[in-house]
């Protein structure tokens, strides 16, 4: 098996796969079932990634990098000195070639995990949650969920506080220091750059094109369409193949659904094993961690926003409760003033006492 001899080399096992894949595998594989363009349904769109088909060739990663290259950050150096000293710069500008993890210059990468004797390749990027904590909790309104279900960060206004990464169950967004609006505000005291992540090629999709990664895949691993159609298809495929699904329920539901021949519990355990030993599943000589910063897990995730959503109802009902409590108080007062007088008045009682 070919291994990467130089970390900066673009020729690797993946390059070989891709070369073979693009040249020959497309002809050998089953016919692709995806549409040439994305229908403009106006609905929430989801993506299904059939991991049975992924050979880890990396065509999707390269397509993502090519299409989005013009959007990558060009930081100003030296970076502003940030206070206090605990605030560290995060700089990938000298490591733009890194494509085996998420970085500000790499919004999609291919993870691999070996379970049940099988190596599974998993293209990883933003999950595009249905109720994304990153967009909900961004204090600056830089992240937003679009009606299409795409979650995107506005890099023109993002200040790089990285709260989105902190609240993301997969810690997807990646920060690049030395770029963005914070430089024009108080760069020493607040902010630290701009956060970057996949936005499902919003601009391309708006023009009826497919996201770059979907179009570039020689094996039709990904399929994008209206969420209800994609979910139904994912369930049917899982049932028919005895496969497993990830992303349907995670974090209250996402628009990225993985179909795997191996259970995600086992895949995640394999990722964690790789994290411990610094090994890939199959090829021990590459010694690349598969889980860690920029390399998300595959564990089950509870809905981050669930508690807040419940409390939102309390907020909406609170004014009604306030009015009701005021009326209750008024009613009590009214009842007290209109209650019948005692048969014998105090004065009469005192008179009786004196007479007695």
């Amino acid at each position: 098996m070919l291994t990467s001899v130089d970390t900066k080399s673009r020729f690797s096992r993946r390059t070989l796969f891709k070369t073979l894949g693009l040249g020959g595998a497309a002809a050998l594989m089953p016919a692709r079932s995806r549409a040439a363009v994305l229908p403009d349904t106006g609905q929430e769109m989801a993506t299904l990634l059939d991991l049975n088909k992924c050979i880890g060739c990396g065509a999707c990663v390269d397509a993502c990098r090519d299409v989005n290259a013009s959007r990558y950050p060009e930081p100003k150096k030296p970076f502003p000195v940030m206070y206090p000293s605990r605030v560290k710069a995060e700089d990938f500008s000298d490591n733009r070639h890194v494509d085996n993890r998420l970085t500000p210059y790499n919004w999609l990468f291919i993870q691999s995990a070996t379970a049940e004797g099988r190596e599974v390749f998993i293209p990883r990027r933003c999950m595009h949650c249905q109720n994304p904590p990153c967009a909900n909790l961004c204090p600056w309104g830089a992240a937003a969920r679009q009606g299409s279900g795409t979650v995107a960060i506005n890099t023109d206004i993002c200040l790089g506080g990285a709260k989105c990464r902190d609240v993301c169950p997969w810690e997807i967004p990646q920060r690049q220091t030395g770029v963005g609006l914070y430089l024009d505000l108080a760069p020493s005291l607040g902010g630290n750059g701009v956060m970057f992540k996949c936005d499902r090629c919003s601009d391309r999709v708006a023009n009826g094109k497919l996201p770059a990664c979907i179009g570039a895949c020689p094996n039709g691993v990904q399929e994008m369409g209206p969420r209800d159609v994609i979910v139904a298809k994912a369930r049917d495929l899982a049932k028919a193949t005895g496969g497993f699904l990830y992303g349907l329920e995670e974090n209250g539901g996402t628009n990225t659904i993985y179909l795997s021949p191996v259970s995600f519990e086992k895949l995640n355990a394999a990722l964690m094993e790789g994290k411990q030993s610094g090994k890939t599943g199959a090829n021990t000589s590459e010694r690349v961690e598969q889980q860690g910063p920029g390399r998300p897990h595959l564990a089950r995730v509870a809905d981050v926003m669930a508690g807040s959503n419940t409390l939102a109802w309390a907020v909406l009902l609170a004014p009604l409760a306030g009015v009701a409590s005021a009326f209750l108080k008024g009613t009590r007062k009214l009842m007290n003033t209109s209650s019948p007088q005692p048969a014998v008045s105090d004065a009469a009682a005192r008179k009786e006492e004196r007479n007695a």
Partner: protein, 137 residues
């Protein structure tokens, strides 16, 4: 508990949990102070913010019905209404299946932040000014 004391307590919780939505308590060592680690927990402070918002809306509605809007003070009421008018849409945006446009999202966030800052700065000014119209009941 006297009505205004409750109001001040609720607004203090709103202020702390609101400021905690910005990633600064950890950066500036506040969360390192024993007992204040929760200030860096975005999810916890977000829920706390909602709880305090519910308490504020309860207090406001009850007081308006019982004592009339004038009992709150014209300036304070205007500031609170600005806070609520920007906070409620911000909260609705966070509900599942609700999406505002990116521009609307940005404007809601900025105006809510502005309304909160206006209330905070006014309160601060009043503390120093000891304005005669500020109720001290």
């Amino acid at each position: 508990m006297p009505s205004l004391t409750l109001y001040r307590l609720v607004v203090a919780v709103l202020a702390v949990s609101g400021v905690a939505q910005m990633p600064i308590f950890k950066r500036y060592y506040i969360a390192d102070i024993p007992g204040l680690g929760w200030t860096a927990d975005f999810i916890f402070t977000h829920r706390l913010h909602y709880l305090a918002a519910a308490a504020l809306l309860f207090w406001l509605a009850r007081r308006i019905v019982l004592s009339g809007a004038s009992s709150i003070g014209e300036g304070r009421l205007a500031l609170l209404l600005a806070l609520i008018a920007t906070g409620v849409p911000r909260m609705l945006k966070n509900l599942p299946d609700v999406s505002f446009s990116p521009t609307a999202t940005m404007l809601i966030d900025w105006t809510h932040l502005g309304a909160a800052m206006a209330l905070g700065l006014t309160a601060l000014a009043m503390v120093f000014k000891r304005h005669p119209h500020t109720s001290r009941r």
